[in-house]
Symmetry: C2
Subunit: 263 residues, 2 copies
């Protein structure tokens, strides 16, 4: 894909267990970082329950809007695994047992252990390409711009490696972090807003954290063009140097060992 093209993505996490809090999602953060590193811009993520109409509605909203949609969860052997059928329904295509998927699963299971439930994992919508699962064989798949992966993190990660081989990528967004030292967010907030407004093509974020008894504020400058980052960085550093000389006694927050309250 040519330089400058923007490739976007959304994540759709499917599973009652995430919404009940029983299972804590670890896939969104992993996929987000992975996509950023390959030049794909994650624009949205959603978590929906194991209900076909919810999955179909979210899929259709997201796949119309973004270059890619990555789903996790709901492709196992039990009755609550309904993602493949929901994807087929969203695209309006038939779904059935895929001989390619059965062949892959035969590498793991003896024929007599390929139960009706396990065969559910071979249900693949018509027209989909399989995504390899080196961990436990039952494949993911890609249909159109939707990439369907397992919910188990190690399996999802292996599937993402395989799916990524065939993804278009845009120009990578570069990020540089500036340590704000002893200057509080609440003091550099005003000047930083002016710098952000003056530098188009650049996004500037401010992220405080709190660890080992002291505040740490970081300003992150993001852009595709390193020259734009350098120009913004120069202004931010000059602003921090000026404020740093003025000094301030920063009030302590009533918390320990966590990201800091903004202020």
């Amino acid at each position: 894909m040519e330089q400058g093209t923007i490739v976007t993505a959304a994540i759709l996490v499917i599973g009652d267990e995430i919404l009940s809090g029983r299972t804590k999602d670890r896939n969104i953060g992993y996929i987000a970082e992975y996509l950023t590193n390959m030049g794909v811009e994650l624009r949205e993520a959603r978590i929906v329950p194991d209900l076909e109409e919810e999955i179909v509605a979210a899929l259709n909203a997201l796949r119309a809007r973004y270059t890619y949609v990555f789903t996790t969860g709901g492709i196992g052997p039990t009755h609550d695994d309904i993602t493949a059928d929901a994807v087929a329904k969203a695209f309006g295509v038939p779904i059935g047992e895929d001989p390619r998927a059965i062949a892959l699963m035969m590498e793991r299971y003896r024929p007599e252990d390929l139960t009706e439930a396990r065969r559910r994992m071979a249900r693949i919508p018509e027209g989909a390409e399989l995504i390899a699962n080196p961990v436990s064989k039952a494949p993911g798949f890609r249909l159109g711009n939707v990439i369907v992966m397992a919910g188990v993190p190690t399996v999802m990660q292996a599937m993402l490696d395989d799916a990524a081989k065939n993804l278009a990528t845009g120009r990578k967004i570069l990020a540089e972090t500036i340590e704000a030292g002893n200057v509080a967010e609440g003091r550099y907030g005003g000047p930083l807003a002016k710098i952000a407004a003056a530098h188009s093509g650049v996004t500037i974020g401010s992220y405080p954290s709190f660890a080992e008894g002291r505040f740490r504020n970081q300003i992150v400058i993001r852009a595709k063009d390193p020259a734009l980052i350098a120009a913004a960085r120069k202004d931010v550093e000059a602003m921090l140097a000026e404020l740093g000389e003025e000094g301030e006694i920063l009030p302590r927050a009533k918390t320990e060992g966590d990201r800091a309250p903004r202020g």
Copy 2:
């Protein structure tokens, strides 16, 4: 709220840093578990960037559909903190500096340290009730059915405790977990689907995990009525006992120390 009433919720996480993967969200899992424990059913979660039109669109979609919407992130002092303004826009109400919020912040800051940036944290939409922030004073707020909280986990958690005092709650969903022992998901999947279909008012999920070199499969039965859970549990246990006597050599997956591949 009377017994049997269903109280639903959605979470809206706001922040570029979550979508870029720089910061890993820890709030969704925490809020999910918290709401489940108080009888509020979390039905959806979304993550959107720091863009007003995206926040407004998501807010309006979610607040129309669920009893409550909990937002996290974007209420700090810097230019990328635009949640309060987006909430005001979504509701079509004015927003301005709230004297109650300024008074709270004066408990932490000397007047000369109440910078323009920090005063941004006192911007509260008209008609909103404040949510206490015992950690760093700058408050969250509730407007209609939308509860606006900080993104920093410790601050968010303190705000949630305060907001929860005034929430309606429904009948709590009870959950019981059955250890499937040495019976694989792929073997109990078929019979479990039949049991799930036979027990209305009950949802049954199947969750494999992999730790210390062996598989562990858990079946979770959820319902509001303990009698319904007991009836389903009886059937599940009888089914597992039958399958357990048949035995099977379970193939090992190529992974360690993680939730297991389904199969």
